[in-house]
């Protein structure tokens, strides 16, 4: 490229213009019109099928085409679910040794406690599957898919309170305002479905603790990325997507007539003023019209066979439940939606943990298991990455009154358990380990940024190259410091 001819420059300019254009538009549809405007030869190129994405991605071999992220909001107790510490049984109500605690900062909810009495889990653990995965009796269904799971027992974060910790998990930064992971993926890889958004969010409320930690729209916000990368939240009441339904009195044929006229008038204006943005708008109105069919078709589960529904458990038909959301997640995955994020609220068990956590597990255990089995039997688990995580763990010492049968646990960021399954992750393994108190990490610590880098890697994205310039920095999901992919858990 040392000696550029004027023709080279023009070519480059055209390409840049196209790129500029695609950056603004969700899909390449309008590109044909623009191509025609600029150079007829380009118009012949079919850009309909080449949705916008960051060119050059994926830049490592992708294993997963999409992610289903089952976020357990409020922070589930690793001690009662996946990280058994049988040695604690003999230490009931004894103080946590100072050598273990090492004076770390605590939330102000327990920093005033005079003692830190150890609270052994009341639940029985067993090993399951060929892999011998430890799962407590709280989750009787999950053992059926034990050999699909890859547990990380050595997760940690720096955040000790919910709001910053969830924000960090989802955006790589503790204060709100950065793009969430789904937005990054949408930005990086674009949409693979021309009738649905690339990033969908669903929220459910736990029965274990109905008054619980709140969520915030910013958790699926696009930050400084264009707003079309925002997660589209499917709602549990009214329209599944905001403003999706035609108003009463305007039926679909009437809407079609309106859009036909609108298209004619917009095209007429385009002919006059020449702004390619108008072509995009025409295309976006048509996409909206298609979504009015594609979304209800997606959320209509009446044709699902009973055998499938049964896998997800008794709540599967109830809109807004975790079970229903899991089923919708599979249907979204089938339609190649890139990033499907579920939030299940209610895991913040400071007091009366056993009562609350058993409710949470009733909500989630069977649907989660059902989702994995359903994906597996359809052959979709190979290219769908499923992630199960909360924002931090819970303490081994009791918050509030301690008995063998009843106890509470405060926030614990220093170690907790998450699991991944499918899409490029080694099945049937356990990674990392904690000490005898599930208080400190003994080996292979995994930071939230490592986890996020690994999820991106499974999608074929080098987390160091997916960045946008912001306030003078190359901003990325995984921060500026060196946080690498956890290669050991990848296929």
């Amino acid at each position: 490229m040392q000696n550029q001819t004027p023709q080279d420059l023009i070519e480059k300019r055209l390409e840049m213009t196209r790129r500029y254009f695609f950056q603004r538009t969700g899909l390449g549809i309008g590109g044909a019109a623009l191509g025609a405007l600029l150079r007829p030869a380009l118009a012949a190129k079919n850009v309909e099928s080449s949705p916008m994405r960051v060119t050059g991605l994926p830049d490592v071999t992708p294993k997963a085409k999409r992610v289903i992220y089952l976020f357990q909001s409020g922070a589930p107790s690793q001690l009662d679910l996946f990280d058994p510490k049988p040695g604690l049984d003999n230490r009931f109500d004894q103080d946590l040794p100072e050598s273990v605690r090492q004076g770390q900062r605590l939330t102000t909810m327990t920093s005033g406690q005079t003692r830190f009495p150890l609270a052994p889990s009341k639940y029985a653990f067993k090993r399951h599957g060929d892999s011998g995965a430890w799962i407590s009796e709280l989750m009787p269904h999950l053992p059926n898919v034990a050999d699909e799971l890859c547990f990380i027992k050595s997760m940690y974060t720096e955040q000790i309170n919910h709001d910053p910790a969830i924000t960090f998990f989802q955006t790589g930064f503790q204060l709100a305002g950065r793009p969430s992971m789904g937005s990054w993926v949408s930005y990086g890889l674009g949409s693979a479905n021309r009738d649905l958004p690339a990033f969908v969010v669903m929220v459910s409320r736990g029965t274990g603790r109905p008054s619980c930690q709140p969520l915030y729209d910013r958790l699926w916000g696009s930050g400084m990325l264009p707003s079309r990368h925002q997660g589209v939240k499917f709602l549990s009441v009214g329209d599944p997507v905001l403003y999706l339904s035609n108003p009463d009195g305007i039926d679909r044929p009437t809407r079609r007539r309106q859009l036909d006229d609108l298209g004619v008038l917009n095209q007429h204006r385009h002919d006059h003023v020449g702004d390619p943005e108008i072509s995009t708008r025409i295309a976006q109105y048509e996409l909206a019209y298609r979504m009015q069919v594609s979304v209800p078709e997606l959320t209509d589960t009446s044709n699902e066979p009973k055998s499938v529904l049964d896998m997800y458990g008794p709540n599967v038909r109830n809109r807004g439940t975790y079970a229903n959301n899991c089923l919708l997640a599979r249907r979204l995955a089938e339609r190649d939606v890139r990033f499907i994020q579920l939030y299940h609220m209610g895991w913040d068990q400071h007091f009366t943990l056993p009562k609350q956590i058993s409710g949470q597990c009733r909500d989630t255990d069977q649907p989660t298991t059902g989702l994995l089995r359903d994906l597996k039997q359809r052959g979709m688990l190979d290219d769908t990455l499923v992630v199960w995580a909360g924002e931090f763990g819970r303490t081994v010492y009791c918050q509030g009154k301690l008995t063998r049968e009843n106890y509470g646990r405060d926030h614990h960021p220093r170690c907790f358990t998450v699991w991944l399954a499918g899409g490029g992750i080694k099945p049937g393994m356990s990674y990392g380990a904690t000490d005898d108190f599930s208080y400190n990490i003994m080996e292979k610590p995994v930071h939230v940024n490592n986890l996020n880098a690994t999820i991106l890697a499974a999608l074929g994205i080098n987390h160091k190259t997916l960045s946008v310039p912001f306030q003078g920095l190359d901003l990325r999901l995984t921060g500026v410091e060196g946080h690498d992919v956890v290669h050991d858990i990848m296929l």
Partner: protein, 1038 residues
């Protein structure tokens, strides 16, 4: 060629993202002819690729090499130099960027940075031409440039245009013709007021062919109060204004008084320097007025945490940093926040200097964990403008209505006689019990500043102050007789929270203790009476009535948990019946202690019983004085007794029912007014002693290092002479004439408002990583003009919108698009999508629904159901939609909940109001289409707009369609457009004539529906109106 190599692609993307297409074209094409300029051509390359390791941050500097100033780049490094002026071959920099050896190559391949061949050529030529360094352009105070000479002199209207034209002529381009008058008036009206012009305004402008016609339109718009609202909207985004605290439970706050201040300031054309000083340090001005203190609320708009477990100091530090970052972005256009954890990598702000700036904002007497309270200290209580007059009117009305009730009509007397007979018979026959008699209350007091209002029904309503844990003391005179029990009625009232029983957060109270004392004088000694038992008509789970007589302050009786708050009674039975004399005074004490803040009974009434077994039920329904006046069952009634009875009967006489309900209504109006008579706003204030500030290692609140003191970064200048070294001095420095940045950054934001893109594209970054100005001389000319005019905002805007540049048509040719897709050269007028707020306001305006009230508290218009509930900590966090005018106010008044921002705004790229945001985005998505097609707000507006077309557009269908089109677009439809409208209308009409149900459904949408009749015609016009509101031209400013 396309996407052939990844490198090429990266380079393209880099060029696109960093400098914008045009700048690149300019660079490439001018490369052979123009001299290299360090600031424009070289610094961006070095900053992007080299400064991370060879820039201002010493902590990260590699090989002890600095390339951000001449000394570092040219110093002798022991036999070689990075840059040898005039000799590229000898310059190590050129060798290192050209080598094939990956170990030596710069930037290192693993950095992800990459220099294109074009970049390398530029660097080589720069060294060849002498390797001149310049200070970064924006840190050098602007000097008023000479207005350039141009060829097409008949085009320019003023100096500003010459700068634009010169660059166009250099590029071999010419300006576009002036836009049509219709386009122009719509453009400038939307730009300056955020609303479309009315048909009358359009008509007047079209008719006015005299010279100053356009200038007069501009003057009119700048004088319109709508101007202040429009300008305030942009400022709210910058100032991160919101109605909630933003963390965790996201409690509501009150900051709208500050919003009023901003609107007023713009409308009064407060000079930008005063505007700045009052908002940053109004509280510190000598003899600061209430308005100046309110202005300082600007820097309390940040989020405030209230989550249970957070460490207050951690978040207090975040608030200070938020203030600093906001101030840095808005006035300096610098990303000072980068220096929080380490010295700035690109701009000359060290970490020490960051914390020196931090120190200016660090002295607010605040608590980091106050976010669950609503407004957090420091707070200013201010009277709400205009309420006093309204309150007096309401009081007068109540008096008039009551006076009218005093007249005694024959009907009233008839009813009265009948009632006396009935009651006496009932008492005789035992159908009415006389178990409870209204107590005569001598007085009622409370700790704290609660005042009690005595209501006509004998109850007392708490008002005035609302302290956390008040204790009420009520003196009752029972009269001669026997008292066995006291009944407490807690009553609902419209002035209480949610029309409930208390002024607490949810309308619930917790009565922690109820005590009774007996004395023989009002103020004399009293003895405590033992209470044997208590019972209540309703108790909340875990809050039974007996907890109010358990002697413990941490427990009590509460009544939450029913679907709706209802009147609820409790009865306290004395252990021993009490014989009372004429002098006896009973003192009732109601305590509201414990952790339930403000959970105090809001309205109460007492009655006494002499029955041996006081029960909850058993109303006589009559106060004791009435029972007494009725006399013995058969005896005669004297005149005095008769007056007592008539007085009482006025409260229940059927004939007076309408009058009473008028009084009640008037009283509730008054109660509402009194509740809103004053409000509070969070403001800045300065502690007497400066709070020590430290360099925080890695930006962590708990890792203080060396102590620092307030100071301005050295590279940006120094405080003006005589300015105090505190927040006030900092504000004065920002608007001093020596400040290199403030005027440039400010005029650039206005430029962005009017042209869609700033002269400096990165409106929030004027540092080394920011974009170079497209027209540097013009920027400096405008900046110096702004200061010269006395920071006169209206005159600056007038200057820009009356320029030939602004008045160009935005029609685009393929040639021009290819040449300058982002319109950085301004060879045409800008054409861009309207803000979401403006799109909604426009729909309300053209329909006539827009409610023109300016200022006041935020309102809650239509919002899809369930959005708040779905994510809140419990399902009770509901969005309670407003009604009436609240539905049709301008969008800038829509309640902004940070956790769930108004969806139709966010979908149109509004700032999330989490942090300072001065950028502008205008994406184009299908979800936006769904809003304007289907949101009830827009559909209702379309129907009312259709009614207006039918009402005002004439009798003919064609005229009505033309009228509607013009209402929105200021122009009439052309033949093709009219033909499309007409055909569409006929098809819709045909459809609706056959679908009466659809007609009725469409007519029933929105709150305005009830008074309207549907018809097939209206439905068809509504379908057309709905479509017009979705035209690309409608949502675009052309």
């Amino acid at each position: 060629m396309l996407n052939s190599t990844p490198r090429f692609v990266v380079w393209l993307l880099l060029v696109f993202v960093c400098s914008g297409g045009v700048e690149w074209i300019t660079n490439a094409e001018s490369a052979l002819s123009q001299p290299i300029r360090f600031g424009r051509d070289i610094r961006p390359l070095l900053s992007e690729n080299c400064y991370h390791c060879h820039g201002p941050d010493e902590g990260n500097r590699k090989a002890d090499l600095r390339l951000d100033h001449a000394e570092g780049a040219k110093e002798d490094r022991g036999g070689y130099r990075a840059v040898v002026p005039g000799d590229p071959e000898e310059s190590e920099l050129i060798k290192r960027i050209s080598t094939d050896d990956p170990d030596d190559l710069m930037p290192p391949p693993e950095s992800g940075k990459h220099l294109s061949p074009e970049d390398k050529r530029l660097l080589r030529r720069w060294i060849d031409q002498g390797a001149e360094f310049e200070s970064h352009w924006s840190f050098v105070p602007p000097v008023r440039p000479v207005v350039p000479a141009v060829h097409q002199t008949n085009w320019t209207r003023q100096s500003m245009d010459a700068f634009i034209l010169r660059k166009l002529e250099n590029a071999g381009l010419g300006p576009a013709p002036e836009a049509s008058k219709e386009t122009l008036i719509r453009r400038v009206t939307l730009d300056l007021t955020g609303l479309p012009p009315t048909p009358e305004e359009v008509e007047m402008f079209l008719q006015d062919s005299s010279d100053g016609a356009y200038a007069r339109v501009v003057d009119r718009l700048l004088e319109s109060e709508r101007y202040g609202e429009r300008m305030a909207l942009g400022w709210l985004n910058a100032a991160r204004y919101a109605d909630t605290n933003g963390y965790q439970n996201d409690k509501e706050r009150q900051m709208w008084v500050w919003r009023n201040w901003v609107i007023d300031a713009y409308n009064q054309n407060k000079p930008f320097d005063e505007f700045t000083i009052e908002q940053l340090a109004g509280d510190m001005l000598p003899n600061a007025s209430i308005e100046q203190k309110i202005a300082s609320a600007f820097n309390r708009n940040h989020r405030i945490n209230g989550e249970g477990g957070v460490i207050p100091e951690e978040y207090r530090v975040e608030y200070v940093i938020d203030r600093l970052e906001t101030t840095g972005t808005i006035w300096l256009g610098l990303t000072v926040g980068c220096a929080r954890c380490h010295s700035h990598k690109f701009d000359p702000i060290s970490q020490r200097e960051f914390y020196s700036l931090f120190s200016y904002f660090n002295n607010v007497p605040e608590n980091g964990r106050d976010g669950n309270k609503g407004n957090a200290e420091p707070i200013l209580t201010v009277p709400v403008p205009g309420t006093e007059a309204k309150r007096r009117m309401a009081e007068q009305r109540i008096q008039e209505l009551k006076a009218a009730q005093q007249s005694v009509s024959p009907e009233f007397l008839n009813e009265f006689e009948e009632w006396v007979e009935d009651v006496r018979r009932d008492l005789r026959e035992g159908k009415r019990s006389s178990m409870w008699q209204a107590a005569t209350v001598l007085n009622a007091h409370s700790t704290g500043d609660v005042t009690f209002q005595s209501l006509a029904d004998g109850s007392f309503l708490s008002s005035g102050g609302n302290p956390s844990n008040p204790t009420y003391t009520i003196k009752i005179r029972p009269g001669t007789g026997l008292v066995t029990g006291i009944r407490l009625e807690t009553l609902t009232h419209p002035s209480l929270t949610n029309g409930g029983l208390a002024r607490s957060v949810n309308g619930n109270f917790v009565l922690t203790e109820f005590e009774i004392e007996q004395g023989e004088t009002v103020s004399g000694k009293a003895t405590r009476l033992a209470i044997a038992s208590a019972m209540a008509g309703y108790s909340q789970r875990n809050y039974p009535i007996n907890l109010s007589i358990d002697g413990k302050s941490g427990s009590g009786w509460a009544v939450f948990g029913r679907p709706k708050m209802l009147d609820t009674s409790a009865v306290f039975t004395l252990a021993e019946p009490l014989n009372t004399s004429k002098e006896t005074v009973l003192t009732v004490r109601m305590r509201h202690d414990g952790s339930f803040n403000r959970h105090a009974v809001g309205r109460f009434r007492f009655s006494l019983s002499s029955s041996t077994d006081p029960a909850l039920e058993g109303e006589s329904g009559l106060p004791s004085n009435v029972i007494a006046a009725l006399g013995v069952p058969n005896g005669a009634i004297g005149d005095e007794e008769r007056l007592v009875l008539i007085d009482y009967f006025r409260q229940i006489a059927p004939v007076l029912a309408p009058s009473r309900s008028q009084v009640r209504e008037a009283e509730s109006v008054l109660a509402r007014l009194e509740k809103t008579a004053s409000t509070s706003v969070m403001v800045m204030s300065e502690m007497p002693e400066r709070r020590p500030a430290f360099i925080l290692n890695r930006g962590q609140y708990d890792q203080p290092g060396e102590e620092v003191f307030p100071a301005i970064p050295v590279s940006l200048g120094q405080l003006p002479a005589g300015a105090p070294n505190n927040r006030l001095g900092l504000a004065q420095w920002l608007v001093s004439s020596d400040n290199p940045l403030t005027a440039r950054v400010t005029v650039n934001r206005y430029w962005q408002m009017l042209f869609g893109t700033g002269l400096v594209e990165s409106v929030d970054d004027f540092g080394a990583q920011g974009a170079y100005p497209s027209h540097p001389e013009l920027l400096d000319w405008l900046a110096t003009e702004f200061v010269r005019s006395g920071w006169d905002i209206k005159s600056l805007l007038r200057l820009i919108v009356t320029s030939a540049t602004y008045r160009q048509s935005s029609v685009l040719t393929a040639e021009l698009y290819a040449r300058d897709p982002e319109n950085r050269l301004l060879a045409r007028g800008p054409r861009f999508r309207l803000a979401g707020e403006t799109i909604r306001d426009q729909a309300l305006a053209v329909s006539g629904l827009l409610e023109p009230v300016i200022g006041g508290p935020s309102v809650k218009p239509y919002q899809p159901a369930g959005l708040w509930e779905e994510v809140a900590y419990d399902k009770k966090m509901r969005y309670t939609r407003g009604s009436g005018e609240d539905l049709y106010r301008r969008s800038m008044y829509t309640f902004w909940k940070r956790a769930v921002a108004p969806p139709s705004m966010i979908l149109f790229d509004s700032s999330g109001r989490e942090r300072c945001d001065v950028s502008r985005r205008a994406t184009n998505t299908p979800l936006q289409a769904l809003v304007t097609l289907n949101d009830v707000q827009f559909v209702e507006a379309a129907r009312v707009f259709a009614e207006r077309m039918m009402r005002e557009g004439g009798d003919q269908m064609v005229d009505r369609l033309r009228y509607g089109w013009r209402l929105v677009l200021a122009r009439f439809p052309d033949a093709v457009e009219l033909e499309t409208l007409t055909r569409g209308y006929r098809m819709h009409l045909n459809h609706y004539q056959q679908h009466p149900q659809a007609v009725a459904d469409l007519a029933a949408i929105g709150e305005t529906s009830s008074s309207r009749q549907g018809s097939a015609e209206l439905a068809a016009y509504t379908a057309i109106a709905n479509m017009i509101l979705n035209l690309d031209e409608t949502v675009t400013r052309e």
